[in-house]
């Protein structure tokens, strides 16, 4: 090895310079070291906090495995940690088919998904949350090929939740046929509720408005964004192109009423 290097010192040096020059010339190279450091600290956070459920390769096959939970009406829900290698996200503020924006992932990591036993990581330093966010992006090639779309803005009007809006919302719930899946009275027992499958081909149950909290948290804004963007990978479709903004808020009013959170 030593000999080889000695004999070829000039070639190696020239080569290194050439490659270095190339590396410096191409954009974003400056950030590489910083990025690598962030990924490294993200990996550490991941291994301590997330690996048990999401698995070494982010494919959701961690030691924790499948969790089964009985719904109040007796049906058994199977809960799988997300396969992060798929690069499909449910809880976005971006339209269906898009990657989430960074803040969406931060929100999920901070709040967790209590209904699915994913804990909240609010207590972690913000730098750690950011680092683990960047680390989980390395599981899917989608982050190299696509940019997230513009998030959908959410501006709650003052009248949301008032009785008139609830009444209008009830009609919209019927027109939009939310009941086909979620049940005509919102109990998650619509005529199609037993036939739904997720991307993995596993059965998935629609949300029961009368018992649960939303996976992403039950604020009016979260209800709005859920049916506007759809929950990619689950069968919950996007109504972005089916409802104008006003009608969407009436629908929120009605579903809050179903959840006994309105008025």
């Amino acid at each position: 090895m030593k000999k080889i290097i000695k004999g070829n010192i000039f070639i190696i040096f020239a080569l290194s310079l050439m490659v270095l020059a190339f590396a410096i010339e191409s954009p974003a190279r400056d950030d590489d070291a910083e990025y690598a450091a962030m990924i490294e600290s993200g990996r550490k956070v991941y291994e301590v906090r997330c690996l048990l459920c999401h698995g070494e390769n982010g494919d959701g096959n961690g030691l924790a495995g499948i969790i089964r939970r009985a719904e109040r009406n007796g049906r058994i829900l199977e809960i799988y940690p997300r396969d992060l290698a798929m690069g499909v996200f449910r809880f976005r503020t971006t339209p269906t088919g898009c990657l989430p924006v960074d803040q969406d992932i931060i929100d999920i990591i901070s709040n967790g998904v209590p209904r699915s036993f994913m804990p909240s990581y609010k207590h972690l330093p913000r730098e750690d949350i950011k680092a683990v966010r960047e680390y989980i992006k390395t599981f899917s090639f989608r982050w190299e090929e696509e940019e997230p779309c513009e998030p959908i803005s959410v501006n709650r009007p003052v009248w949301a939740g008032n009785p008139d809006s609830v009444r209008k919302g009830r009609k919209i719930y019927k027109e939009m046929k939310c009941g086909e899946c979620h049940g005509y009275t919102g109990k998650g027992d619509g005529p199609k509720s037993n036939d739904l499958k997720d991307d993995q081909g596993k059965q998935i149950l629609p949300f029961n408005f009368t018992t649960g909290n939303l996976k992403r948290g039950s604020s009016p804004e979260n209800v709005y964004i859920t049916f506007t963007t759809g929950l990619d990978g689950t069968g919950m479709p996007s109504y972005e192109d089916s409802l104008n903004e006003e009608d969407r808020w009436h629908l929120v009013s009605y579903t809050l009423q179903l959840m006994k959170k309105g008025e």
């Binding site: 290097i5 080569l15 490659v19 590396a23 046929k177 036939d195 081909g201 759809g230 479709p237 109504y239």
Partner: protein, 262 residues
């Protein structure tokens, strides 16, 4: 000094290697002047009967609505999966030139997927990345049109999922993802369609006589995949010579059950 040199060398080699590994190979559009043609026929070894799909509408809250769905969807559907000519030539097979790295630019051509009488129209189509999907609902029912890229392990990856609660509703969505895509409707689990979304123009669908033709291919040797929802894939190599036509014949031997029948 030597150690430093080795270090510099390693770092210098690793940095670009890392950034290259991140990049995925893309298709390059070039002018093709002496391109060849692949032309041929796809057959089935055996006669296969086309199944009838039974349809059972679950009662809805409003009997009026149940009736509307029964009237629109009917009580059964001919699958139109095995559409064979008298000589067992197969319609709706996709013929795809795989792994092609350069050639003519893909056309700008939007495709329409229509929800019509509780089936998707057309069953098989070819779409082009950077063009648009136009999703239409012609039924007075809620349909949802859910596109997913077909993955190896029988799973799929959502591309988008749209609710279409109104009759004559039309939604336009950009096509960003290449590959074989299946289309589903949760409300009507028997509904299905397939799209091959392509970065290049070198894919075709067989007609009722099992025929296809793919033109203007840069000369070279290519892997051809023949895909059909009800048959196991066939992969064959073919040589394309300048300004001439290569004959391509393939025979499906094994059937398979598509996802909507599982």
């Amino acid at each position: 000094m030597k150690k430093i040199l080795v270090f510099i060398l390693l770092v210098a080699l690793i940095i670009p290697a890392l950034s290259y590994a991140k990049r995925t190979p893309r298709y390059k559009a070039v002018e093709v002047t002496n391109g060849g043609t692949i032309k041929g026929t796809i057959k089935s070894e055996n006669r296969v009967d086309d199944p009838v799909i039974p349809i059972r509408v679950k009662p809805k809250g409003d009997p009026e609505e149940t009736r509307l769905e029964e009237d629109t969807c009917g009580s059964s559907q001919q699958a139109m999966m095995y559409v064979l000519s008298p000589d067992n030539e197969v319609k709706n097979a996709l013929v795809i030139v795989e792994g092609i790295t350069h050639g003519r630019a893909a056309p700008k051509k939007d495709i329409t997927i229509n929800n019509l009488r509780c089936r998707f129209e057309p069953l098989v189509s070819i779409a082009y990345v950077k063009s648009y999907y136009i999703i239409r609902n012609s039924d007075p029912l809620l349909h949802n049109t859910w596109l997913g890229k077909v993955l190896n392990a029988g799973a799929r990856r959502t591309i988008f999922n749209l609710a279409l609660p109104y009759r004559d509703q039309v939604i336009k969505k950009p096509n960003r993802v290449a590959g074989l895509i299946n289309v589903r409707c949760d409300i009507h689990p028997w509904m299905r369609a397939y799209v091959y979304s392509s970065r290049h123009p070198y894919a075709a669908i067989t007609d009722a006589g099992g025929n296809f033709e793919i033109r203007d291919i840069p000369p070279g040797t290519y892997k051809i995949r023949v895909w059909h929802e009800g048959f196991e894939d066939i992969i064959k190599e073919v040589k394309v010579k300048p300004d001439s036509t290569s004959d391509f014949r393939a025979v499906f031997t094994n059937t398979r059950r598509p996802f909507f029948m599982k």
